[in-house]
Each structure stands twice: as structure tokens, then as C-alpha cells.
């Protein structure tokens, strides 16, 4: 790739920083070029973020219709699965899966709930419900808004 061909498709996915690309200059010599991003790569990243958000929204709706407990929603929002959550809390996977059932979640003791809340870095109160509206994980977790979520 030539230096002048290094793409500069800035969608602010890097939050202001630029990444290093290697390309050849007019004398054929390799040099570092800073890049704001490349469209196919930006799209692939946005796709990954969107899929996470879809799964989280799905979970939120399942909690609202009573088929899952809020624990399931928070686990996905914090980019975890049963295995990772097990490692952080020390609670075994089988139990975590049971705790994702609303009827069982309701009966959980405070010290179990606290383990989860601490892992997710949220309050006990937060853990007991889900947000009323659709949320976007980057915004919720890191206070970061994608300029354009759509792949265009």
C-alpha cells in the first residue's frame, strides 16, 4: 500500500486517537502513517457492537416479559457469559443459570446478590430490575456514543 492510499475514514471509533499503518513512500521505502480508520474495518467493528446491543436488548425484553431474571440482562450488558461470571463470583455455572430464572432470583439472599452487583459494579437496587428503555452498551458502560451505528 502506498502512503497516500492509507485510508482515513474517520468515524471517531478510536475516540480521537489514530492508529499506525505501514505503507511505502514515493521512494518505495516503508514508513509509518497515522490513520483515522478504514471503512470495512469500521463496519466490522460496528457490526460487532450492534450484535452485542441486539443481544442485550433481547435480554432486556425477556426480563420484562418475565422469562428471565435481571441477572441475565446485566451479565450480557457487562460482556460476560456464564463462564466469566463464574470466575468473577465463584458461583458455579449451574447455579448462575438457575439464578437467571425470575422465580429463583427473587428468593436470592442479599449476600449472593451483592456478589453479582459488585462484579457488575452496580448497586443492589440496579441489579433487581432492568432499564425501562432500550440502552446502548457503549453509552451505558463507558459513556461513549457512536457517531453512526448504521453500516452504510
Amino acid at each position: 500500500m502506498k502512503k497516500e492510499d492509507v485510508p482515513q475514514n474517520n468515524e471517531n471509533l478510536l475516540n480521537g486517537i489514530k492508529e499506525i499503518q505501514y505503507a511505502v513512500d514515493e521512494n518505495g521505502k516503508y514508513t509509518k502513517v497515522l490513520s483515522y480508520g478504514w471503512k470495512p474495518k469500521n463496519d466490522a467493528l460496528k457490526q460487532a457492537v450492534n450484535v452485542l446491543d441486539e443481544q442485550i436488548e433481547d435480554a432486556r425484553l425477556q426480563v420484562l416479559d418475565g422469562s428471565k431474571s435481571p441477572l441475565f440482562f446485566w451479565m450480557l450488558l457487562k460482556q460476560m457469559d456464564y463462564s466469566i461470571l463464574k470466575e468473577y463470583t465463584g458461583i458455579n455455572k449451574f447455579k448462575i443459570k438457575r439464578h437467571c430464572k425470575p422465580s429463583i432470583f427473587k428468593k436470592l439472599k442479599n449476600n449472593t446478590l451483592e456478589k453479582y452487583a459488585k462484579t457488575f459494579d452496580i448497586s443492589l437496587n440496579d441489579l433487581k430490575s432492568v432499564p425501562k428503555e432500550t440502552i446502548y452498551s457503549l453509552e451505558y458502560n463507558f459513556n461513549f456514543k457512536l457517531e453512526n451505528k448504521e453500516i452504510q
Partner: protein, 324 residues
């Protein structure tokens, strides 16, 4: 997933010891170029494609090949891990660490996935704040004690377990020439002769065959997601573009001068062309992400680019093996 950073960290650690080696040089000596597609291993439900060896390997190879004495430590106890780090910082020893990026507070938010093989250097500490040299950031960043602790003990795939490393001793004069040759030979071996089909150039063909089947087997939505993952790995920050192929071309060019082997410069040019083909694959994949209608022929076309790349890389590494 991978934000690659080992080269940058090694390069920076050596700089503190007054050894200037470029990032491409480190990458080449450490045999950082690789390819593997492992459909049987999935991360977040998507098969693993990687353009680099497992984390830590480049570091191990570079230091060994240059005769640099290093110390690597892992910890069970969190406060011990932090205390040991503090002791080194107090002595003025820059210390590399493997961390998870999800809790890396200064990191670009869109890149904060649960990926645990990022490398950073602690260079100092003021009160509760660590000064961090991170190869993907443009300036020195800071992170709080409790956040650094979290990233060093992140859970999930490739748990860092507080892993940290530093240079104990560097030889007075380093001869990089034999290290370069070793690095090149090893890469040729990795790409051509590992007797497992998922590794090296053979893996590229398997990926091509699978890509063709994805839309029918997985449905359009999942097929796109799988393809997106390949592009993400190929273009991850720190690859320098095209799955490290441009970085490797830069290494061959530099080596051509160091070793005074003009043929290596020609090999560098060939590698640039291969890198451009990987970018073509990325562009076509990008078009597939956007297409709302069925685009099976586009998948075939993408697979054919990969087959083309496999052929080129195979003859490239065979020739490179003969050159050194």
C-alpha cells in the same frame, strides 16, 4: 480478538535500555507473522481466526534470539502482584504487563471488549495513579490502582494472572543479524510446514472453503458476523494493516539493508502485493456487510481472493526460505 501490542512494548522496553530496534524488526525477529483459522475454537460464538502467534510468544523469541535476560512473573495474590510492580517502579525499571482491555479506563471505548492479551508498560507512579505507556495510545496515559489491578486480573480467555515482565540485563553488544535469519526461518516453517491443516498457508484455504459455505450453512446474518470477525482480526490496531503483512514487508526491507541481501528487498515488494490482496479481501467483505440482498456469489469471490493469497503466500515463503 486481538489488539496487538507485543512489538510496541518490546520496542519501548528496549528503548529504556538504549537499544533502538524498530517495531518491524522486533516483529520479524520474533516471527510474529502467522495465520490460523480454527473453526473448532470459538470466542463469543465466532470461530477464531488469527494473524499472529499466541500472546507472549513474540516476546519470548525476541529476547531469546537477542540474548536479552528477562524476568517474567505471574501471581496468585493480587496485592503481591501490585506490590512487586511498585517495587520495580521505585527502582526505575519500566515493567511490561499483560492486561484485559475491558477495564482499561483510558482505552477507546469501542475497543473495550473482554480481550485479555493486551500489553502495556508501567513507567511511573504518582500517588494512586500509574503512568502507562500503551503502544496504541499516542501519549502517556494514567490509570488508577484499583483499575489496573482489575485489568491485570481480568477473567475469561487468556487470563493474564497479573503477568508482568521486565528486562534484567542486556548484552553489551547485540548482533541482530543471526537473530533476523532465525526469525525469518521460523516464520517460513510456521507458514509452510506445521502438520496441522489449520495453521499456516493451509489454514487460509480452509477458511476460503468455509466462507463459501457460511451463507447457506449459517444464514446471511451469522455469515456476515463471521466474516466481520475475520476482517476485524486482519485489521486490528497494531497489525499495521493487512494482518501484519505490511509490517512484515517493512521488516524484510529493513533486513535487506542490515544483512546486505538485495533479494530481501524484492521479497518485501512481493509481500506488499500480498498485503494489498488482503486489503482487497477486506474491501469485498465490507461490501458484503452492507448488502441487504442475498450475495452468495460475493462470498465465492471473497473465497477466491483467499485462495489466490494462499497460492501467493505459499510460493512466497518457499522462496524466502531459500533467500536466507
Amino acid at each position: 480478538m486481538s489488539a496487538h501490542c507485543e512489538n510496541g512494548v518490546i520496542s519501548n522496553l528496549l528503548k529504556f535500555h538504549n537499544i533502538t530496534l524498530s517495531e518491524p524488526m522486533i516483529f520479524g525477529i520474533g516471527s510474529g507473522l502467522f495465520f490460523t483459522y480454527m473453526p473448532f475454537i470459538k470466542m463469543t460464538g465466532i470461530p477464531v481466526t488469527s494473524f499472529r502467534p499466541v500472546p507472549g510468544l513474540i516476546f519470548k523469541r525476541v529476547t531469546k534470539r537477542l540474548g536479552i535476560n528477562i524476568k517474567v512473573q505471574k501471581f496468585k495474590n493480587k496485592s503481591t502482584a501490585m506490590n512487586e510492580l511498585d517495587t520495580l517502579i521505585e527502582k526505575g525499571i519500566p515493567t511490561g504487563m499483560v492486561v484485559g482491555v475491558y477495564d482499561l479506563t483510558y482505552f477507546p471505548p469501542a475497543y473495550r471488549f473482554r480481550f485479555n492479551a493486551h500489553n502495556i508498560i508501567a513507567t511511573g507512579k504518582t500517588n494512586n495513579l500509574y503512568h502507562i505507556s500503551d503502544p496504541i495510545m499516542e501519549k502517556i496515559e494514567t490509570i488508577k490502582y484499583e483499575d489496573l489491578l482489575k485489568t491485570r486480573f481480568a477473567k475469561g480467555t487468556y487470563k493474564p494472572n497479573g503477568k508482568m515482565y521486565y528486562i534484567k540485563e542486556v548484552p553489551t553488544d547485540i548482533n541482530i543479524n543471526p537473530a533476523i535469519i532465525k526469525g525469518i526461518k521460523h516464520t517460513c516453517k510456521d507458514m509452510l510446514t506445521i502438520p496441522i491443516n489449520y495453521f499456516g498457508v493451509k489454514g487460509i484455504s480452509i477458511l476460503a472453503n468455509h466462507i463459501e459455505k457460511w451463507p447457506k450453512k449459517l444464514g446471511e446474518r451469522k455469515a456476515k458476523l463471521y466474516l466481520g470477525q475475520v476482517v476485524r482480526m486482519q485489521e486490528e490496531i497494531g497489525t499495521g494493516g493487512a494482518g501484519f503483512r505490511f509490517l512484515y514487508a517493512a521488516f524484510l526491507q529493513e533486513s535487506s539493508n542490515v544483512l546486505n541481501i538485495p533479494a530481501l528487498n524484492e521479497m518485501s515488494e512481493q509481500m506488499t502485493i500480498i498485503g494489498d490482496r488482503w486489503r482487497d479481501f477486506g474491501i469485498l467483505s465490507g461490501r458484503i456487510f452492507k448488502q441487504r440482498e442475498k450475495s452468495k456469489s460475493a462470498y465465492n469471490e471473497a473465497a477466491n481472493i483467499l485462495r489466490d493469497i494462499r497460492t501467493s503466500e505459499e510460493s512466497f515463503f518457499k522462496e524466502l526460505r531459500k533467500t536466507v
